[in-house]
Symmetry: C2
Subunit: 330 residues, 2 copies
């Protein structure tokens, strides 16, 4: 691989999260799908926010969380995703730049407001997400920064991007630019319902455009519409170079050609909020990969970052992942 | 005491906090007074926010935190303090109402933006606060809701209110209404520098208008300009009915007439961020007091709430204080 300015460039929905501890019966009363991400409109967002308990606002967005994690490890990252020039857009822009990511998309000066995700965290630390996408859906092919993509070892795309139609085109354009420049393309499947909504296109893309796939157990099974994880694991094998499959407290399985590596989860004192666990696993994995580590070490570094994020509310690291990694001996 | 709709009504600066983990050398480089609250203007706030690391936004404001704590215990509370009808004003209003406080001040439709406090949290869990007061300084005598004050067992005022001149008048008006209705008035000294700025007026007020004083060790010593805590403790005795003096990990001392009660601090697993420790001590103490508990129990309930708040970022409780109290056996 020729040298690159960025280890990873992320493309995704730029979102500010509003997190609130919630009892399970709140989810039932409001008909929310536990553990899932659901898209909501402005009116639904307003009504649900009224009903929600006191919140904590933290920058989020799946790929943005991953890039924040890579920067916290000391990696060089860039990000593409759209906010408005409003208060939450200012918060998002500040946070991602402050952690050291080169955020390249200028804020929109008109249109919908910055995206917001209401996250209900139940006592079992599960998160249930209700997303108002706002201006983030307007990310389109014109926002794909060709030079930056060419200059990144890996272009990392979030599956959620498949929900807005313009972003889907942006996604394909980014993948084509990356491959033409001899770079790699990574994709996270994001959510089993997201896989359901776009299964055929995901399969087509993974086979044709994607080198590295991140998925959890439910997403992997949903992709192949099977009930058994091992069956799904065998099926994904032929479709991409590397599949990093996460299984919560059971750790991760890394599939690469004929090799299968099983990696244990990192120990955690107390699980508070699982928001961002998958995003931060991807951060550690990609940081390892772009720094020449073995696939097993990549999985272990991913587990380390995921363990940090689930110990507190919010999907952005609260301590230096570079320091955590140095102390870990991995 | 005749019955009242509210246990406590709080009057204070309505603020949204932006918290960020920071190394000590950042404070040195930017000339920030560690552990203190400093007022800054719009330009200083913008420059400091640019330099600040990634943040977490949580509703704050000293008296507002206290009222949120009282509501979390199951107490009835009301709050007076001013926000703008902007995004952060919406966040503040949502959060305080969502926890069950009757927030009675309508948002301003013009003027400065909602107040914001940049809080730098060092690895020793100390917080250093830089506050842009924005619209909150416009709280004046006209915002004092006479009916609500008359209908509250205790009117609780934050010392920080002494910084904006209009609020100082509001403060005196609130105290006079409360006393005329046969109610009690409580005051927290807020910050040793705040005491420095307004020492003579604080002394005058405590002697004439205040029944219950909350102060930490530094504030108590600053009030009487002495180096020794025991000297200060003896001096405050004659000036008010109850003085609840907090001493961090050394617990609290409650002074009431001839009685002095020493209360141990509640045990804490891990201290992450001391923002709001004093505010939540006051919450537990006032909840106990308005529910007929002994002064020692009031101090212990205060310690319980303070212990919850210092275990995570932000000055609003993340778990039900009513449940914590029930489980504690106090």
């Amino acid at each position: 691989m020729t040298s690159a300015t960025y280890d990873v460039i992320g493309v995704g929905n730029a979102i500010v999260d509003v997190l609130s501890p919630t009892e399970d019966d709140f989810l039932t009363r409001h008909g929310l799908d536990k553990g899932m991400m659901t898209l909501i409109d402005t009116d639904q967002a307003a009504a649900l926010y009224d009903a929600m308990g006191p919140g904590i606002e933290v920058s989020g967005g799946s790929a943005a969380n991953t890039l924040a994690g890579i920067a916290s490890f000391g990696g060089n990252g860039a990000y593409l995703g759209k906010v408005r020039n409003d208060t939450l857009g200012g918060v998002f822009s500040h946070d991602i730049r402050a952690i050291g990511v080169d955020y390249r998309t200028p804020p929109a000066t008109d249109g919908a407001t910055t995206a917001r995700c209401l996250i209900f965290v139940t006592p079992d630390a599960q998160r249930t997400m209700q997303t108002y996408l706002g201006i983030s859906v307007e990310l389109g092919p014109d926002d794909i920064d060709e030079g930056a993509i060419r200059d990144s070892q890996i272009t990392y795309l979030e599956g959620y991007l498949f929900d807005p139609p313009a972003a889907k085109k942006a996604f394909v354009k980014a993948a084509e630019i990356a491959h033409a420049a001899g770079r790699k393309v990574a994709l996270t499947l994001s959510d089993p319902f997201c896989v359901d909504r776009h299964r055929a296109e995901f399969m087509h893309l993974i086979s044709g455009h994607v080198d590295i796939v991140f998925a959890n157990e439910a997403e992997t099974k949903s992709l192949f519409e099977v009930d058994n994880f091992d069956t799904a694991l065998q099926q994904i094998r032929g479709h991409c170079e590397i599949a990093a499959l996460t299984r919560s407290e059971k750790g991760a399985v890394i599939v690469a050609g004929d090799d299968i590596h099983v990696v244990d989860a990192a120990p955690v004192d107390r699980v508070i909020d699982t928001t961002g666990a998958g995003d931060l696993f991807a951060a550690g994995f990609l940081y390892g990969l772009t720094n020449g580590r073995t696939l097993v070490d990549c999985g272990r570094i991913g587990g380390l970052a995921a363990a940090e994020i689930i110990g507190h509310y919010g999907a952005r690291p609260e301590m230096s992942l570079a320091k955590l990694l140095a102390d870990s001996g991995i």
